[in-house]
Amino acid sequence: MSEIVKKILYLNRKAPYGTIYAWESLEVVLISAAFDQVVSLMFMDDGVYQLVKGQDPSGIGMKNFSSTYRTLGDYEVKNVYVDRDSLAARGLTADNLVQIAWEDVDTGEEMENIVTVIDASRGCELMAEADVVFSF
């Protein structure tokens, strides 16, 4: 277990399939979250497609890892942000996205959905607040 806890922000900007970025990012997120780091995710540009529900990539022979995002709550990731302008530019709203539940087993604190749609200005703040930003 690491003694140094950093605030890490993962910025996801690419479509889920066609490149390995989305899946690689998710794997790194799960690994760093498992090692007690404070992990947040932000989705913008084509990256917002990663969270769209009802995906079926079987036609292109890819594993449908969109359901894996829903496990982030189990990995104690509490903050998942989606850029409002990027959604709007693609004709999407929060209703098109998967919901990720979060629960603290010790305190019983629960959140039904940790996916939050934010404005660009809030996105800038979050990047400034993070110790490390990884862009995928």
């Binding site: 498992a34 829903r70 087993v105």
Partner: protein, 112 residues
């Protein structure tokens, strides 16, 4: 050349760490054969965890890291089972690694 294990006379490929190459080939007997190789006798308590892992993979498409496994087992199967002492007593080579292997899943993400 991949390693093979013999399950009911059928040869199934495993990777260099003993994880099943194709999870679709899994049958309960795979777990029994792998457990025997590790000198373990599978009890109902083992099967609870193995089946739970398979359901988790089915839903989320990943094998959970050990800390996450401990937490969610506690949530689903009861607090007395959601601790590493209990899980290690069942799976001495590491609850996530060994149980995932028996369940035919890939090595858990985040396991070193």
């Amino acid at each position: 050349m991949a390693d093979m294990i013999d399950v009911d006379g059928k040869q199934l490929a495993v990777d260099e760490e003993g994880y099943l190459a194709d999870l679709n080939e899994w049958v309960p007997c795979v777990a029994t054969v792998m457990a025997k190789q590790d000198n373990l006798e599978l009890t109902e308590e083992h099967w609870d965890i193995i089946n739970f892992l398979r359901e988790y993979y089915e839903e989320y498409q990943i094998a959970p890291a050990v800390r996450v496994l401990t937490k969610i087992v506690g949530k689903k199967l009861g607090k007395d089972k959601g601790n590493s002492k209990y899980l290690y007593s069942l799976f001495p080579y590491g609850p996530a690694k060994q149980a995932c292997r028996f369940a035919g899943l890939p090595k858990p993400t985040g396991c070193v």
